[in-house]
């Protein structure tokens, strides 16, 4: 628990008083009962960040701005995961030459679609005087709102001039206003201010720090966290008006965002990142061994997990820990084949509850999760257990030592052994047993589900023994594992840690432990409801806290915004 004496060591007196003030106000009003034991710790933040857009964010923005009928063809180069999250990798990733080549091509394809004869009426606020000639006024009427949405702030004068000049000159040369417009739009779509989410920074209004995020940067941080896309017009307007600088203004926007259906996208993105669902894109199952889990069913298995998570956390507002013992989900015809149940309307997603007798409880026992952490043609208790430990519990399983003598495991007939028998050999070697005990007990408890997540009672002709022990809690089968997992303190702790890191785009530092402890306590006292956790994070000043960039003589803290468009700077 946080202590005042520790706070005084790191915080200025005014920040301390402000923190206490929040505590007093909150408790007086009884708004956040859970937090009344302690005031929220204040963190110093990190340097402003630059995050590369993920593929889904890119797609979401384009569809938000231009509509979902815009075809975004082509492949994006993946952002490599860092410290367990793509969101953290995005803060360290740049754009390689081959990636940029693809972005540039994609930008041209999108721009062509936007200005095409079929589509232009959807986006153009005006018509040029003559199609065969440039028209600056009409081009400006297009670029200003589109640029504002793409850059997540108003275009600066020079950015707008660049787009207009490009459109004008190209329009002149090509003899077509819309071709010129397409070129200007292409320049916005390959611009670093679009492809990266760059924290805008301005001089701080308080004496506690010399820099803070601009309102637009706060809007972006909120929007990418909660919606996995750029801010909508309402949020940008709130940023422009300075509303995000006040608690009431921020709360109003957060409340609105929490009510939006886009929150489902945001939650899906967070769990996709946390649980490595992007690996479904390359998940391969042997179609001779597992014919039911074809590529379409694999996609459905991913969707089932996402739908279940969204429903559990958002629609039912249920205890996060119960996600690991829930039997409620959604099913369609293809998954019905895998779960061996008939589905009345196979083309639709239908609410479904696994019967108790199936032993299917918790998302870790769903076909998608099991299949994701298995081999193409067989289960892997070690990989599955490692997935549970690392992704759901944030416990790092040490890498295998580099000097194992696998001759020990070359048992004749090992290919005919059950997984439990094979792994018993690993556990007989001291240097292996330490890590395998962490993983295998969990995975072996899910051995009733094969590498495609299909139920099986036996392995190699032997009845599967799914008993195990999770951190001191013994159980008989996978439902026992589900119960043990849901009660394990690492489960909610991991969620809080990963949600914070995902939102901030970086791994948590030691100095942020107080805030983490505070949120975890609040999460527990709020009965592990996820939406309040999100709300606590985004309404905290800590979520927006930054340190100033060290002055190395080449840079200065300045906003990336156009002063003419920033009402606060005008006042």
């Amino acid at each position: 628990m946080i202590r005042a004496s520790r706070l005084y060591k790191t915080l200025s007196r005014s920040r301390m008083l402000r923190a206490l003030g929040k505590y007093i106000i909150v408790c007086t009003l009884g708004v956040v009962v859970a937090a009344c034991g302690e005031p929220e710790p204040v963190i110093s933040g990190s340097e402003p960040s630059i995050r590369r857009l993920t593929e889904q964010q890119y797609r979401n923005i384009i569809w938000d701005v231009f509509g979902s009928h815009v075809v975004i063809s082509g492949r994006f180069d993946p952002i490599l995961r860092q410290d367990g999250l793509v969101a953290v990798g995005a803060s360290q990733a740049t754009i390689s030459a081959s990636s940029f080549d693809k972005y540039e091509k994609l930008a041209r394809i999108i721009a062509e679609q936007v200005v095409s004869e079929d589509n232009r009426s959807l986006y153009m606020p005006c018509r040029p005087h003559e199609v065969g000639r440039p028209d600056d006024a009409c081009a400006q009427a297009f670029f200003e709102p589109v640029g504002r949405m793409l850059f997540r702030r108003p275009l600066t004068d020079s950015e707008l001039d660049d787009s207009l000049t490009l459109a004008r000159k190209a329009g002149e040369q090509l003899g077509d206003f819309y071709d010129g417009l397409a070129l200007g739009l292409t320049s916005l779509l390959v611009n670093p201010n679009f492809l990266f989410v760059i924290d805008g920074v301005e001089q701080a209004s308080s004496a506690d720090t010399d820099a803070e995020l601009t309102g637009y940067a706060k809007a972006s941080r909120l929007s990418f966290f909660l919606w996995n896309t750029s801010p909508d017009e309402s949020l940008l307007a709130a940023a422009e008006a300075g509303d995000l600088e006040t608690k009431a203004g921020l709360k109003a926007q957060v409340d609105r965002m929490m009510q939006s259906r886009k929150l489902r996208d945001g939650v899906a993105a967070l769990f996709t990142d946390m649980l490595h669902f992007e690996e479904f894109d390359h998940l391969e199952k042997d179609n001779l061994i597992y014919p039911a889990l074809d590529p379409e069913a694999i996609e459905d298995a991913r969707e089932q997990l996402v739908l279940t998570i969204q429903n559990h956390l958002l629609d039912e507002n249920a205890d996060y820990r119960d996600l690991f013992k829930t039997r409620k989900t959604f099913i369609n015809g293809r998954l019905g084949r895998i779960y061996r149940t008939s589905v009345a309307e196979p083309e639709l997603w239908t609410p479904y509850e696994f019967p108790e007798r199936t032993g299917r409880a918790g998302i870790q026992a769903f076909t998608g999760f099991v299949a994701l952490f298995s081999h193409p043609g067989r289960s892997s208790p070690t990989i599955l257990g490692k997935g549970v430990r690392e992704l759901l519990m944030c416990q790092r399983v040490p890498d295998p030592p580099g000097d194992i003598d696998f001759t020990l495991f070359n048992e004749p007939g090992s290919q005919q052994m059950t997984a439990r028998e094979r792994l018993a050999i690993h556990n007989s070697v001291a240097s292996c047993a330490g890590c395998h005990r962490l993983t295998d007990e969990i995975g072996l408890s899910l051995e009733n589900f094969d590498g495609a997540g299909q139920f099986r009672a036996s392995d190699q002709g032997q009845v599967i023994d799914a008993s195990g022990n999770l951190d001191g809690i013994a159980y008989e089968d996978q439902t026992g594992l589900a119960e043990a997992l849901s009660q394990n303190p690492a489960i909610p702790s991991c969620l809080v840690q990963q949600t914070m890191a995902y939102g901030l785009g970086r791994s948590l530092s030691g100095s942020e432990k107080n805030w983490f402890d505070y949120l975890l306590t609040e999460f527990a006292e709020g009965e592990y409801k996820f939406k309040p956790l999100l709300q606590s994070i985004v309404t905290s000043a800590n979520f927006f806290a930054i340190k100033s960039i060290p002055d190395d003589g080449e840079q200065s803290v300045q906003a990336h915004i156009n002063p003419r468009s920033d009402k606060r700077s005008e006042s």
Binding site: E47, P48, R75, D77, P78, L80, Q82, Q92, A93, T94, I95, S96, A97, S98, S99, F100, D101, E104, R108, S158, E159, D162, T165, L166, K169, A170, Q173, S187, V190, P192, F196, I198, V201, H282, D286, N287, L288, I289, H375, P376, G377, D399, P401, G402, D403, D405, F406, T407, F409, N410, P412, S414, Q415, R422, G451, I549, P550, E554, Q555, S556
Partner: protein, 450 residues
């Protein structure tokens, strides 16, 4: 902002004029004139370029079943590498017994081995890329004049399976689909350099104008960010510049060999790890790649047959190459892991088929393979134990006559970075020393240098 920058006014002005009309047609004599201005002569007088590539296979050799050293300094390919034997004398050098001291770092299984060999530095653990991979260094030297600075290919269906990095956050992801690869190289934007009426794509100048606008923001943007982010943004702007260079290169017909032709467009098929699919994907990539090199679309490539800890498998079986390498017991009579060796054999058969594609392309008095240097490398010397002692590697090709071939080089525990240093020096990279800590070396492998 600069639009259609005027630093090379003659070319730009000319094409601006051409763009003003709706039909773009540029006659060869006129174009020829400014191609010479570009500094790159056309095919008739151009030296044949030397290309550089890497070829990666996962899981090394089954011990003792790849190469047999001979007393005269030569070697024989045996068993799982037998398919490479026809290329040995004229094209292949085999490197054994080079070492990678870990300097206190853990050996990250299936990772440290290839990273150290390709970066000259031992990573601190999984995921860390301590230095640029050598292919990017070579690409900076020889790749700027072509349409694509380098091309990365993975036969596993996963774009992450590319071992080409400028830094941990700057990864050159792989093409995984032969059809996508074909379309990128030989799709609508391809201009046949053999065409006497070579006409650059009129879109190129427009695209350059867009990039020019973006580049103009560089200085302002870099001033506003911290040092780490400045490096990342600078890498982004480097990528912008590289595309500009590619576009510039596309304005002129590259020097091509008589064998340059547009390959047949492949169909699409489901990608995956089963050995038939991997081989089919590999073969399709090899055909397109060989012609891409012949048509001078690129001079650097990275081809990955299977990734480190290869999951290649046979359909309908439950054990992958990787699992077998650990769990398959040696055959009682034969004394080795029969199924594991079978997968290794498939790897080298695929490589031999790729070399055949290169040899089938005539260039001057020789073939494409005579003018190429391929670094074939892997992640481990013994997959069963994850050993990184003596991880094998090969050079394939004559690099335009710059290296000798048919040699076995026993490193006698010398740092593996000597191989990388030799490769880069062969490709004219001005580098005298490479690697860090125990892998730091200034000693190239002189035995193979002409």
């Amino acid at each position: 902002m600069t639009l259609l920058r005027t630093s090379k006014t003659n070319r730009r002005s000319f094409l601006r004029g051409a763009l003003a009309g709706s039909a773009i047609s540029v006659s060869l004599p006129f174009l020829d004139m400014f191609l010479n201005d570009h500094g790159t002569a056309l095919a008739s007088g151009a030296p044949i370029p030397v290309r550089f590539g890497t070829w990666f296979w996962g899981l090394g050799h089954t011990p003792g079943r790849g190469m047999r050293a001979l007393e005269d300094g030569g070697y024989d390919f045996i068993d799982e590498c037998r398919s490479l034997e026809p290329y040995k004398r004229d094209y292949i050098n085999y490197f054994s017994n080079f070492n990678m001291p870990l300097d206190g770092n853990p050996s990250a299984v299936h990772f440290t081995g290839w990273v150290a060999g390709k970066t000259g530095s031992v990573p601190h653990g999984f995921g860390g890329i301590p230095a640029p991979t050598l292919d990017t260094i070579v690409a900076d030297k020889i790749g700027a004049a072509t349409r694509f600075k380098s091309l990365e290919l993975s036969c596993t269906g996963n774009p992450v399976h590319s071992y080409s990095y400028r830094s941990a956050g700057n990864h050159n992801a792989a093409e995984v689909s032969p059809l996508s690869f074909y379309l990128r190289l030989f799709g609508p934007e391809y201009r046949d350099p053999r065409n006497k009426e070579f006409t650059p794509d009129p879109q190129i100048l427009l695209r350059q104008s867009v990039l020019s606008v973006v580049e103009d923001e560089r200085d302002q943007l870099l001033r506003t960010v911290g040092s780490d982010d400045r490096i990342r943004l600078d890498q982004y702007f480097t990528s912008v510049r590289e595309l500009e260079q590619q576009l510039e290169a596309s304005l002129s017909a590259p020097p091509v060999t008589e064998a340059c032709q547009r390959p047949e467009q492949p169909v699409e098929w489901p990608l995956g790890y089963d050995v038939e699919t991997v081989g089919k994907t590999h073969d399709a990539f090899a055909k397109i790649l060989a012609l891409a090199l012949a048509c001078d679309q690129t001079r650097v490539f990275n081809m990955l047959y299977s990734h480190a800890s290869s999951e290649v498998r046979v359909k309908g079986t439950t054990f992958t190459h990787h699992i077998l390498s650990h769990e398959e017991p040696p055959d009682d009579e034969l004394g080795f892991q029969v199924q594991t060796a079978w997968f290794n054999e498939r790897s080298f058969e695929a490589f031999a088929r790729m070399l055949a594609e290169f040899v089938n392309i005539p260039e001057g008095d020789g073939t494409l393979l005579d003018n190429t240097l391929i670094f074939a490398h892997t992640d481990t010397s013994d997959a069963k134990t994850h050993s990184v002692i003596g991880v094998p590697s090969m050079t394939v090709g004559k690099a335009g006559g710059r290296i000798k071939t048919g040699l076995h080089v026993n490193g006698n525990a010398a740092p593996v970075s000597q191989v990388g240093l030799t490769l880069m020096q062969t490709m004219d990279v001005p580098i005298e020393e490479w690697g860090t800590r125990s892998l730091r070396t200034s000693t190239p492998i002189s035995e193979i240098l002409v």
